[in-house]
């Protein structure tokens, strides 16, 4: 039951993009079309889930076991960079079309704050193994949710008549702000 709570919490209540404000770069960069947004979301969810697993193992069997808390950030980023490298090679081999759609944004998943945040949260809150995996997966689903909603809105905005000063980054950020306000409605859903 607690896993369900963790899952829902990670997807809507504490949505990584709209509540914690991580993963904003790809959120703004890849949300122009629903297709690419969905692909990005799936790739990120995959990387996040595996990151949760690997960093949990490293945290408990290396960092805590040997008393090396100062190696936390370095080890996490090495894990994430390698993971993204593998995912990139895998996608290139299995689906060249998808590889081309995601383009430059695939390697950029490495610098996606959200992935590192998954690793940090698992350590900060001292989650158990399964809870950590659920958290990572839920965070990815939440990210996908946010980015797909954003893409849907932006596709509509493409054909709207926006005043000149608001075009581009401005209207995107305003939309993101309104989305974040809307998601505040989920606050308190998973309290004691």
């Amino acid at each position: 039951m607690t896993y369900l709570v963790t899952l829902i919490s990670a997807i809507v209540v504490n949505n990584f993009v709209l509540t914690y404000f991580v993963g904003i770069c790809p959120f703004i960069g890849v949300s122009k079309k629903i297709d690419s947004a969905l692909s990005m979301g799936i790739a990120v969810t995959f990387v996040m889930t595996i990151t949760a697993i690997v960093t949990w193992i490293i945290n408990h069997y290396v960092l805590i076991a040997f008393g090396l808390p100062f190696l936390e950030y370095v080890s996490y980023i090495v894990v994430i960079a390698s993971l993204v490298q593998f995912v990139e090679m895998f996608i290139k081999k299995t689906s060249p079309a998808l590889y081309k759609t995601l383009g430059i944004f695939l390697p950029l998943i490495t610098t996606n704050c959200a992935i590192l945040f998954v690793a940090l949260i698992q350590a900060m809150r001292n989650l158990g193994f399964i809870e950590s995996v659920v958290q990572g997966f839920g965070a990815g689903v939440g990210f996908t949710l946010a980015i797909v909603i954003m893409a849907g809105i932006r596709e509509q905005l493409e054909v709207a008549d926006i005043p000149k000063p608001f075009r581009g980054a401005a209207i995107t950020l305003i939309t993101a702000g309104i989305l974040a306000l809307a998601f505040m409605g989920f606050s308190g859903l998973t309290s004691a």
Partner: protein, 191 residues
């Protein structure tokens, strides 16, 4: 290929050494900061019991459950125990300390250590007026909260924060369950 591995390994080894050195030199200070902050929170629970707060001494008990601190005065007299409570509030996790008297029957008070509740609403749990309500309550029955009516100390009641029922509920439920477990553990240890 070989150069790649050498460079990468060299960088990582260097990074590890630099960080180990920095950590070793700074960690005593970081630990001192942490202890000072912890002692400040613990002191506020026992502040009424001593003339000089500097006399207080704390010792963490070895438990397999909630974290419990034993508070004593400078002369060794037992002042009570402080239990760490963690509960899910409205905005996030609330971390607080609940103090109990040496007889394990009376609550000395609470101190909120960390919270990210809404400022002005749930955030008011850090106000003296809210925290004081817990002083003198009993551990023999669960604490309850009431809304819109005067709380009765005899019935172990406190007044909920207006507009922040979820936060109040989190604190009350968390304190009840954690104190129950902690008191059982303390009783076993004292015997």
């Amino acid at each position: 290929m070989r150069k790649m591995i050498i460079v990468l390994t060299a960088v990582m080894v260097l990074s590890g050494l630099v960080l180990a050195a920095t950590y070793t030199s700074l960690s005593p200070r970081i630990e001192a900061n942490r202890v000072a902050a912890l002692n400040a929170s613990l002191a506020s629970i026992f502040a009424d019991q001593v003339a000089d707060v500097a006399d207080l001494e704390f010792e963490e008990l070895d438990t397999d459950g909630p974290t419990v601190y034993r508070g004593s005065a400078g002369d060794g007299a037992l002042l009570g125990y402080a239990v760490r409570v963690q509960t899910q509030g409205y905005g996030g996790t609330i971390t607080m300390l609940a103090g109990v008297a040496p007889d394990l029957e009376t609550i000395l008070g609470i101190e909120v250590v960390e919270q990210i509740e809404t400022p002005g609403l749930g955030g008011n749990i850090t106000n003296e007026s809210f925290k004081q309500q817990f002083e003198g309550l009993s551990t023999r029955e669960p604490i309850e909260y009431v809304k819109n009516i005067e709380p009765s100390k005899a019935d172990n009641e406190i007044q909920a924060i207006s507009g922040a029922t979820i936060t109040t509920k989190a604190i009350v439920n968390g304190t009840n369950s954690t104190l129950d477990r902690a008191i059982e553990i303390i009783r076993r240890q004292v015997q």
